[in-house]
Symmetry: C2
Subunit: 192 residues, 2 copies
């Protein structure tokens, strides 16, 4: 069994927690207001918070994050303009997080799947597929096994450098949903 600590209590936190529990794995939630006081007991820590909240979490838990699998699900949009990302163009939120916690095994995942498609495990006529990028192969396998046990497909999207492309995909998908050209139960489905 793999134990998860999910920081955040929003739609995405709940949807991811549901998948972890569905596969028989252990999940604990920490609300943003309890960040720093509640201990990080999980082998896997999911940062299910908006990107601007990530820095304070890393500051609060830097020692405890060392060596853990840290899953970054953020889409680091400029939420004032919805027209750009707030991370450097050649980088990604995941790469910035990895740089701040070098000993953690950072994975990018869940940023290309809307909460509704994680809950139903379907995107239109296709299975929901979680795209996972990361540099630590064992960490990717651990996360993929838990997600698959929870009934959701996964696809290894490559090294952590591919987080840049995953975040571009997530950004595009969000602009389309906010612009009402795509529903929050839709998105880009992975067809193999």
């Amino acid at each position: 069994m793999t134990s998860f600590t999910i920081i955040g209590t929003g739609n995405m936190a709940n949807a991811i927690g549901g998948i972890v529990a569905d596969g028989g794995n252990d999940v604990t939630f920490i609300s943003q207001s309890d960040t720093g006081t509640a201990p990080l007991t999980g082998d896997v820590v999911v940062l299910a918070v908006p990107y601007p909240a990530v820095d304070s979490i890393i500051d609060a838990y830097s020692d405890q994050l060392a060596g853990k699998i840290v899953v970054d699900i953020t889409n680091p949009l400029n939420f004032e303009t919805f027209d750009s990302l707030v991370v450097p163009a050649a980088s990604s939120a995941a790469a910035e997080i990895q740089a701040k916690v070098p000993s953690a095994k950072v994975l990018k995942a869940f940023n290309t799947t809307f909460a509704g498609t994680l809950a139903t495990k379907r995107v239109g006529d296709s299975d929901t597929t979680v795209l996972i990028a990361g540099d630590d192969a064992a960490a990717k396998q651990t996360l993929a096994a838990v997600v698959e046990a929870g009934g959701v497909k996964t696809l290894d999207a490559g090294a952590l450098s591919r987080a840049r492309e995953l975040e571009a995909l997530g950004f595009l998908q969000l602009t389309l949903a906010v612009g009402e050209k795509m529903s929050w139960t839709g998105g880009f489905a992975t067809v193999r």
Copy 2:
């Protein structure tokens, strides 16, 4: 009727030409070797060539491209490493082309759909959808009308600045297909 000139004679050129013809619109092909000598008769010019070939086409046709709708379908990968793009990280091939031919109405389209999915008009259980980005609304509508008449769905992906995200999506899709994690008849299907 809208007339198309497609520069290139590869799989993508043929697939796009097939859609244009299916909708009852006119299409002429120019091979790369005839570039510069064959005239650009179409209202819409599709650059269905690898990105490194684009510059010489623009040089050969700069006067004739003025005012036309120019469709950039390229994925500007570094084909030696398959690990990055050759355009600046904050830019895109489409933006680079627009800067070189300022009076053309440049659209980004077809770079997120493999040739096989344009030919069959299906990606798995979903309809193939051509994502179109551009700054000229009328030009986007012209292209969308032709593609839809040819039996393929379209989606307005926003301004030409969104070409950066479309190229990231195309890049990711290509790395997955080359890595045999996705077939050339698959890809990211658009679910609304």
